[in-house]
Every structure is written in structure tokens, then in C-alpha cells.
């Protein structure tokens, strides 16, 4: 299997609204890939389909050769845009919970990261700030030894210093054959760690290129290229 994930002719419509329109996309192994597009371009719909939370209206998605389901969930670490954790749980309970749930979860990695960010193991989720909650969730996801990490807006609510730490964590934690697909609007913060970038618009792939090729070809950053391509 050459590609980690294959998206072929995928369409998703909600009634008359077409969120993803006959999309084709190949996700290689061992890359950090940015999924960029304006609001409502279909990023989250695509991500939800890859995680089996939505079913495509047409077309097929495979990850490691399997359609989204039990086999793929064991190998995909997913950070959703909204939390699904119980507010009353303590941080250490959630770590135990993940440990029970995912075979590839590494408890030591999680505790080390929580400690570096000064997050108390005993604290209940509801007592944490919005940004700290986001950090906890990202730490849980990155503590898995998955093949594919899908991160939907991973750093939006996090302060710049913690952002740097999280990015370094992402870089040093993923294994060479794993890939990270991350959607974000904070392009300038993350563009130095990307290998490739996928621009999507109106439910279709506009371009899928290595980031250094964009810099070489257009002499500009991904952030400024994005602003030009999607200028309103």
C-alpha cells in the first residue's frame, strides 16, 4: 500500500447543500500535511468522514486499506473540533480511560507532556481554562502511537508559548511512517513544520503541493499565498 489514506470521488451532501464535491485525495506516509481552506470549504466534513462520524453520499475512503470503522479507529488518532470528554473527570482519570481504550496509548508520554505544561493530574476538567482543556486533549491524542493523526484546529485556543511547545511535541513524537493531517486557520504559526499543503475550496481540492515548492515558485509564505488564493 503506497498511500496511507485514499479518498476517491467522495461527495457529501446535506439535503441540497454539497459540502464535499467529488473529492480525490491521496495522503502519503511520513508527512505532516496542512488542510487549509476558508470557512465552509468542507474541511471538517472531510475529517469527520475519515473518522467514520459521517458517511459519504458517494465515493470511497480507505485508511490502511480499510473503510473507516473499528480497524481504522485503532490506528487513527483524532482530535475533534469539539470536546467529548466528561467535564467532571480528573486529568489522571482521563489518561487511564485512554489507556484502557487504545492499545497504542503511551501513559508515560502523556504524563511527561502534562507535567511540562504544568497541568495538574488531579484537576477536574471543568476547573481548567479553555486553552488548558485543549492542551489536555491534544496531549491525549499525541500520546498514541498511531499511523495517522487527524487534528481539527489543534492550536486555536492555546497561547503562543504553549503553541511552540505543542508544535515541538508534534514534531518529536510522531514516528517516521506516521502522517499528521491538520486543519487550521493559523497558517503562519504552523507552516514551518508542514511538508505538504492541501488547499480546499467549495468541497474540492484546489491544490496539493509540497510547501517548499510554493515558496520557491511564488516567493512567498504559505500564509500570504493562502490570502491571495482565497481573497474575498
Amino acid at each position: 500500500m503506497e498511500f496511507l489514506a485514499e479518498i476517491r470521488g467522495v461527495t457529501k451532501s446535506y439535503g441540497r447543500t454539497v459540502a464535499v464535491n467529488n473529492m480525490n485525495l491521496m495522503i502519503p506516509r511520513g508527512k505532516i500535511i496542512g488542510l487549509l481552506g476558508p470557512n465552509g470549504s468542507g474541511k471538517s466534513t472531510l475529517i469527520k468522514m475519515m473518522n467514520g462520524l459521517l458517511t459519504p453520499t458517494a465515493g470511497s475512503i480507505t485508511i490502511n486499506g480499510f473503510a473507516p470503522g473499528i480497524q481504522t479507529k485503532a490506528r487513527v488518532a483524532y482530535l475533534p473540533e469539539k470536546t467529548y470528554l466528561q467535564d467532571g473527570m480528573r486529568v489522571c482519570d482521563i489518561v487511564d480511560y485512554f489507556c484502557d481504550f487504545y492499545e497504542d496509548f503511551n501513559r508515560n508520554t502523556a504524563f511527561t507532556m502534562l507535567q511540562s505544561l504544568g497541568i495538574s493530574f488531579e484537576a477536574r476538567l471543568k476547573t481548567l481554562s479553555k486553552g488548558t482543556k485543549e492542551k489536555v486533549q491534544l496531549i491525549l491524542v499525541m500520546s498514541r502511537n498511531a499511523d495517522l493523526y487527524i487534528l481539527d484546529e489543534p492550536i486555536a485556543g492555546v497561547d503562543p508559548a504553549a503553541r511552540d511547545y505543542i508544535l515541538k511535541t508534534i514534531i518529536s513524537n510522531y514516528s517516521e511512517n506516521a502522517s499528521i493531517l491538520l486543519s487550521t486557520h493559523l497558517i503562519s504559526d504552523i507552516e514551518n513544520i508542514l511538508d505538504e499543503v492541501i488547499f480546499i475550496r467549495e468541497g474540492q481540492v484546489l491544490s496539493h503541493l509540497p510547501v517548499d515548492q510554493i515558496r520557491e515558485q511564488y516567493g512567498r509564505s504559505i500564509d500570504s499565498y493562502f490570502r491571495e488564493v482565497f481573497a474575498c
Binding site: K168, D195, D212, E216
Partner: protein
């Protein structure tokens, strides 16, 4: 030297320049062992693949040597390091002259200004 990267230019070419400077300035001396790709990538906050690409480029021009047993080291060819230094200095001066000419200075005026600034610095 800090890893200050300009997002307008390919990252790997900037990494090559920074590592070259670190070798020339003696942060990594001839024959020194270099940190791993991962370590340097984390230090610079860049993708390990990009750092790998920069290393490959430095290997191609000979500044970095891959040893089968001891990882990557800086070349022991002092002559090559000196040549790289001379080459980078030349580039710096060319850029400087070009910028000064754009500001409307003649070559002679530039030289006078350099001399004056150097004297003030003493």
C-alpha cells in the same frame, strides 16, 4: 545562533545556510558529531523531513560526512570549511554593495563610509 526563518523562502535552503554558519563560526568544529535530524528539527521548530533535506544538501557539498558507525559529523577538511566561509563572505559583500547602490551611493563613497564606521567602532 538562533533559528530565525523567513517563511517567504524555502525552509531547507535557510537551514543549510544556518548550519553552514554554525560550522564556520565553530559552534560545530571540524570532526564534531552533529545532533540527530530529530533533535535539530525540534530545536529549529521545523519538520524533520525538511531538516533531512538540508542535511542531504550539506552532505552533497561535503561539509557534513555520514559515518556508518558514528552518525553524522562535520567534515575534517578545514580547507573546505575555509572555502565555504570565503564564499559566504563574498555573497554578503555583494548583497551589501547592491543595497548601498540602490540607496544611491557610489563604490568610492561606500568604501569611505565603511572606513568611517569601522573607525567609530574602535
Amino acid at each position: 545562533m538562533a533559528w530565525i526563518l523567513n517563511a517567504d523562502k524555502p525552509i531547507y535552503t535557510q537551514l543549510v545556510e544556518i548550519i553552514q554558519t554554525q560550522i564556520i563560526s565553530g559552534r560545530y568544529k571540524a570532526g564534531d558529531r552533529l545532533p540527530s535530524v530529530r533533535e535539530l528539527a525540534a530545536e529549529a521548530s521545523v519538520n524533520p523531513n525538511t531538516m533531512q533535506k538540508a542535511f542531504a544538501e550539506l552532505e552533497r557539498n561535503g561539509l557534513i560526512v555520514t559515518q556508518r558507525t558514528s552518525g553524522r559529523t562535520v567534515t575534517e577538511d578545514i580547507e573546505l570549511i575555509n572555502q565555504t566561509q570565503a564564499h559566504l563572505a563574498e555573497e554578503c559583500i555583494k548583497n551589501f554593495f547592491q543595497m548601498m547602490k540602490e540607496l544611491g551611493y557610489s563604490e568610492k563613497e561606500i568604501l569611505n563610509l565603511i572606513e568611517k564606521t569601522a573607525k567609530e567602532g574602535e
